[in-house]
């Protein structure tokens, strides 16, 4: 994997993390839209994006677990690094659980019901909150403490 990295990249984590962020964000948007435009393809699209978002979350978490022992973290940033890691795990667990439940409801076609759809969209916003918190701490590690800015 290391050989696939560009010369300037300290590890693969920063290249992966944007996938779950974008996939989940677009999924929530499409999902919200499907409440108003009852199109089947929107439902399928949202489901696919949530599943891919969960997979992206897994890749981001695993790459982060590897990265944290490679990069140099200044002492002042250790608490932030620990919190980032913890929130990353919470996000991954939430994404995984949500995608699994979502897949089940999609298979049963129960997500077509309006009240279920509304609850699902609201629950996906919790996932947005988790990913925002994790990303905020990750940004702090890089831009405040300079973690992983040099190979």
């Amino acid at each position: 994997m290391e050989t696939l990295l560009p010369d300037w990249a300290p590890n693969i984590h920063p290249m992966i993390i944007h996938f779950p962020i974008v996939l989940w964000t677009v999924a929530v948007f499409i999902d919200s839209l499907s409440l108003f435009l009852t199109k089947n393809w929107l439902r399928s699209m949202a489901m696919t994006l949530y599943a891919l978002g969960a997979l992206g979350g897994l890749a981001a978490y695993l790459s982060g677990k590897q990265a944290i022992d490679i990069v140099s973290v200044p002492m002042q940033g250790e608490l932030t690094a620990g919190s980032h890691s913890d929130w990353g795990l919470y996000t991954l667990l939430y994404f995984g659980l949500y995608a699994a439940i979502r897949l089940f409801l999609f298979w049963k076609q129960w997500d077509r019901q309006k009240p279920v759809g509304i609850i699902l969209v609201l629950s996906s916003l919790v996932g947005m909150g988790l990913i925002t918190k994790t990303a905020d701490l990750g940004g702090k590690l890089v831009y405040k403490y300079g973690v992983g800015i040099k190979k």
Partner: protein, 253 residues
């Protein structure tokens, strides 16, 4: 293109642009904050490289310089009489000064060095302050020391403490709770015992790490322990030299 589809494409484009702009603004704000922040990086490395005399010029606190730096760290470096120094700045949770025979000597570059000669009876001396989340950096030269050197933290007594221990080229990270030892991680490292080595330890929430220089050697997780003392424990025989000990109080954000 049908109207609903066109509407959808437009909404995606607008939300994408808004998200991008907001991300950029956040980054700008953070980089401005970074510009205002004092330079934290390399503080420990600086302490590791500085001689004791140089650091004393910065703080001038009697025998030891125990002042708080702008980054929240306290750098301790030896001076004066070894036994008096240990008695004033530390207290023992096991052993006595007789077990470590502390002497302050002049280093090759003129700085002060604390030389400890371990007798074989375990001895642990800790600072008087107690810490929760903490980072510690000890600049050491192990020389002919045979045995285990532990950086202890969250220490209450010899029955309850956390540690990063080095013995030869092996590092163990763990804790002792009610006399029961639990190893959270262990690994090997490369460092010449005859060279100055910066041994770093961090306890941040439930995350515990042991470093040699900037390289993470051990990393484990466990419950947070209540505040305790920070210091060194020697279990072995032979000489060991200490140039400085830096303690960071890690603040919750």
């Amino acid at each position: 293109m049908k109207k609903p589809h066109l509407l959808l494409v437009l909404m995606v484009l607008i939300s994408g642009t808004l998200t991008f702009n907001s991300c950029n603004q956040d980054k700008k704000q953070e980089s401005n904050e970074e510009a205002r922040e004092p330079d934290h990086q390399g503080s420990m490395e600086e302490a590791h490289n500085k001689t004791g005399e140089e650091t004393s010029h910065e703080h001038k606190h009697g025998n030891t310089d125990n002042a708080t730096d702008s980054d929240g760290s306290k750098v301790w470096s030896p001076s004066g009489n070894g036994i008096e120094l240990i008695k004033s700045d530390f207290h023992f949770i096991t052993g006595t000064t007789d077990n470590i025979n502390p002497v302050v000597i002049q280093g090759e570059n003129g700085g002060n060095i604390l030389e400890l000669t371990a007798s074989g009876i375990p001895a642990a001396f800790v600072f008087h302050n107690q810490y929760g989340n903490v980072g510690i950096g000890v600049s050491i030269k192990r020389g002919d020391f045979k045995g285990t050197l532990k950086v202890v933290h969250h220490a209450k007594n010899t029955s309850n403490y956390e540690f990063v221990a080095i013995n030869g080229n092996k590092m163990k990270l763990g804790r002792v709770v009610n006399d029961k030892e639990k190893i959270l991680d262990e690994s090997e490292f490369e460092a010449d015992a005859g060279e100055w080595t910066l041994l770093k330890v961090s306890a941040a929430g439930t995350h515990y790490k042991g470093y040699i220089g900037d390289k993470t050697i051990t990393h484990g997780h466990d419950d947070e322990m209540t505040d305790g003392f920070v210091g060194l424990m020697l279990e072995g025989t032979g000489q060991i030299q200490v140039k400085s000990i830096e303690v960071f109080e890690l603040e919750a954000e």
